[in-house]
């Protein structure tokens, strides 16, 4: 029985690695909606959410659901400058007896500013819409007591203005595969959680691959290869208990060369928990690791660090024996466009 379990672990690990190697390629980095930290918890931590995901493990780390203590149902909204808006609904559940876990995530993202489109003569054109709907599912497998692997994939629907006629915008719809994510999570080191994974596998972004194609477009400008993520969380830092430092490093390998692009980004976050109920969080998102750290020169304008902050509070056993979590986060825009405000409400049961 024990040997059979070891074999299953090896097969799962092999499957994850093989999937990653097979799917890695110039498929795109994901999106506007995927690159922006999902959920108020991760947003307040600068986007460092993969090593110890608070909510929406399907997005942050599908391997984490097998190691969760409780099931989570979360609803979140984010209001962004320039008329942008996002919301999500996620469910994460461990299945301990089977050594597995699973999750589901539904996301809605809307672009703003489409009520000010003009035609070639400068006249207003109306009816423009741009939004994305993503439905992802994930499954994770506990390979050992300290190691789990996970896979997430799903479907996406997009609408984007494509043309206009007679003052009215023509919108174009697109749907298809939303890409795959594979992750490993290791908790074997004392006070550390370490995750590694690849996002946006098999994600194509071809606008022209219509009529049966599975193209999915997102709004991010980089023609990057699949993004690799390494997340580290350090719990109980020093003599201070309940203080956690988290980091995510996102490694991009651009097929257009790295001369004009960031090689890697790192997100840093700190979570200080008081008495188990109140948490204060701070973070720095998009620290550029290409030798020009915090450089405000021309070459570093692509990703400028932005400060994040937030807080969360747990209402114990408010709904039956379930706990209710409320989290808030805000994040500044490096472009000077204003602040993102995120609010999550989660039920732990």
């Amino acid at each position: 029985m024990h040997s059979a379990r070891l074999l299953l672990q090896k097969i799962s690990l092999f499957f994850c690695i093989a999937t990653a190697l097979w799917g890695a390629g110039p498929g795109g980095t994901g999106d506007a909606l995927l690159r922006a930290p999902l959920g108020a918890t991760a947003a307040s931590l600068g986007g460092a959410g993969s090593a110890r995901p608070g909510v929406a493990v399907t997005h942050w780390n599908p391997a984490a659901s097998a190691l969760l203590d409780q099931s989570r149902l979360s609803l979140g909204n984010r209001i962004r400058p320039l008329g942008r808006y996002e919301s999500y609904l996620s469910w994460d559940a461990p299945m301990r007896r089977r050594g597995m876990g699973g999750g589901a995530l539904f996301r809605y993202s809307r672009a703003g500013g489409l009520d000010s489109l003009r035609d070639e003569n400068g006249d207003m054109i109306t009816g423009g819409e741009s939004f994305s709907l993503v439905l992802d599912g994930s499954i994770s497998l506990r390979l050992s007591g300290v190691l789990s692997a996970g896979l997430a994939a799903g479907w996406a629907f997009n609408r984007l203005p494509s043309d206009y006629e007679g003052g009215t915008v023509t919108n174009r719809d697109y749907s298809g595969f939303s890409g795959a994510t594979v992750f490993l999570l290791y908790t074997g080191l004392e006070n550390y959680s370490i995750s590694a994974g690849l996002r946006d596998l098999f994600l194509t972004r071809s606008w022209s691959a219509e009529d049966g194609g599975s193209g999915v477009f997102y709004t991010i400008e980089d023609r990057a290869w699949t993004k690799a993520v390494l997340g580290v969380a350090r719990h109980n830092l020093g003599t201070v208990t309940e203080f956690t430092l988290m980091s995510d490093a996102e490694v991009y390998a651009f097929h257009g060369g790295i001369a004009d692009h960031p090689f890697a980004l790192i997100d840093l976050g700190a979570d200080w928990n008081f008495a188990g109920d109140l948490s204060l969080r701070f973070g720095v998102a998009d620290i550029l690791l290409n030798g020009e750290l915090f450089d405000r020169g021309r070459d570093s304008r692509q990703y400028r660090p932005s400060l994040t902050a937030g807080a969360g509070y747990v209402f114990r056993e408010r709904i039956g024996r379930s706990d209710l979590l409320v989290d808030y986060a805000f994040r500044g825009s490096g472009a000077g466009a204003g602040f993102d405000h995120s609010v999550d409400v989660s039920l732990l049961f």
Partner: protein
Amino acid sequence: MSLITAEHCIRCSLCLLVLVLSVTGAELQSNVFIEGGAWYDTAWHVYGVTDSGQVLRGQGDTFAEYGRFGAKTGSSWSSQSITVGDSGFLVRDYRDERKAAFMYQPFDPSVSAQRCSLSFSGSGASAYGLQNSFRDSVFYVSLHTHGIAAVSRGSGRLRVDSVMHPGGQTLPGKELSAIPPVEGDSRRVLSVNAQADTLWATTFTDTVWYHTPQNQWEYILPRAGYDIIERLTPTAGEPMYYALRGDTTSTDSAEALWISAKDGQNVLPAEDVESYACGSSALMVLTDTMRFTTISNGSVDSLPALSNAFARFVDTQFVIKDPQVYDMDWSLHEGKKRLVLATSRGLVYTDAFETTPQFHIQRQDRPISGGLKEVYAQPSILNDRFGRVVFTYSLSRADRVSIDIFDANMDYVCSITDREARPAGGAQHSTNPAEDSWDGTRSNRGGEMVSPGVYYFRITTEEGGERAFGTVVVAKN
């Protein structure tokens, strides 16, 4: 080559700037007072209308409320057609079939009561443009099937004094809805034109009526009384255009009359040709090819310098290379002769058109002050039809401008301009179309397109510290 003299231009009744603006289907935004084009008169005033019915008039950077033509509080006018002439301008709301005429020049422009409603509820009457129709403190508006409205200022307010039927009776204008239609196409008024003490009315037939100081209606038949000075055949073949010169001996008028013909029938105004004629000379431009031609004393000469200058201007200044040309005219500006073209992109003009023509564009837009609606990409969608967009903005004063592109996550994509000097907006955009544009690539010099989606551009000024965002959609790759 003998071109038209400035003195002739001033005297000539066709020396009008008639701009017709149709904002079909476009809902005017609050406080945006110029949409889709520009309206000018020969005094270089700029006119605009807000969605609350305010009529604004300005020159340069200054705008002031000029009047109000909303029929009721809060009413919004849209889908308007505006005709501007020497005497005033006419606004038509196609959605509600409302019409209003505004008069300027002789009266105080700050008086908002200078509007005259021309609505004929249920009568089917249409109003056509104002031209140089001011005579004896009365200006005239063509009402098409219902004759000519004579509008004057009584007790400080504009009112319709009477309605004149060419060749027929003059009716009191108090009850417009009771005015009967004219009888016959030869009395349906196309345009009204005042010359000295004579009022001219062209119709939808060959008949041209004129009203004498003795309060008599007479008519002429231009085809019979006017000489054809030349016939033009475009390179594409049909249709053919005719330029006619008036026989001044029978009408005692110094003006020349141009008429375009298509397949032998009058089609006024012409669809594919704009022309201006004065004295014994005429200037024509075929709007499909934008080739300029003069007709003088029976000889036809092309104007390659003028044509080429306009082509160069379009290539360098316009993203869309085929701006619609509404009208062509001459005027005097600071003592110089000026050739003016009313286009869908604004007023295009050149001063030294006889020697070294160089075109310029004049257009009024809002100063940059932040917010998505303050600036815009023109057009706002990059697709297979439009390979480049221009970022349109106006500065309240000259400054150095930077334009950057961001994706929907506000991650930086590329820079369009970096602290480049731009003039104040004033009567035209601050935009330099040759530089302030984007082709959808990271390099902005061709190559691989960015991913399809919604992008945002940011315009910042160095000294003013202003910042505004706009939207551009990339819909191809």
